[in-house]
Amino acid sequence: MSFILTAVIMFIFWILLSGEFNIVLILSCIISSLFVSYISHDLLIGKTDIKLGLIRTLRFIKYIPWLMWQIVLSNIDLVKRTLHPRMPISPTIFSFRNELRTEMGMVALANSITLTPGTITIDVNKDEFIIHAVATELAEGLMEGEMQRRIKAIEGEAGV
């Protein structure tokens, strides 16, 4: 199953990048996507439950608009702090507990934290996230944990 799915994804990706439809290209597309998925189909999909993965992908797509809005807010904040003559910053390093189970969830949360107002992820391990915040009040905003709740909702029920 993961073999077929990888092959289809590779096929679509090839079509998008080439955009031409003569016989030679389509044939080489089919052959190379089959070959690539033969040697690497356990990398892209792996042992994850495909149905669960699909549900998570859909939930993640619903999460994107909120993330975009946060990124815009983050950049407005950045512009203000950069251009302010006295630079209103008070950097802190802090950590909070990692409640996520899946690796993809951790990656998504770490990257979301880096993109949202005034915080970057320094380190992630099984127990905690270590965060650098450019101002203390922003750190408090993150500690409320709305983002982690949203990512947890994407992860949903049990399963890895």
Binding site: I71, N75, L78, I89, N111, T114, L115, I122, H132, V134
Partner: protein, 106 residues
């Protein structure tokens, strides 16, 4: 119709360029390594995203804009990851973060 599209894409590209310039100024102005990662990680991501979105609007809906969309998605994943890698390297190497009360901290 064409002129509206040109204006929209012009606004998007100008905003993106502005953000990239701000990010560059921020990298110079902020006091230490960690705070410098903030403009480099955020300003560049949205700046490049806006510039490429502007190009997408200018191009209209075809294969080229799909390729631009793929580049945008790649940047939105790769840029924060690179920021994280740099910050972690500094943290492991023991770079002391700048704190407000300790003067300029250099």
């Amino acid at each position: 119709m064409d002129i509206i599209r040109t204006i929209i894409s012009g606004i998007l590209i100008a905003t993106g360029c502005f953000l990239i310039v701000i990010a560059a100024i921020g990298v110079v102005r902020f006091p230490d390594f960690y705070t410098r990662m903030h403009p480099a990680g955020k300003g560049d991501t949205l700046g490049q995203g806006l510039v490429l979105t502007g190009l997408m609007v200018y191009e209209g809906f075809d294969l080229i804009s799909v390729k631009l969309l793929i580049i945008i998605i790649f940047i939105f994943i790769a840029n924060p990851t690179a920021t994280h890698a740099l910050a972690k390297a500094a943290y492991v190497a023991g770079v002391k973060p700048w704190v407000k009360d300790e003067g300029d901290g250099k």
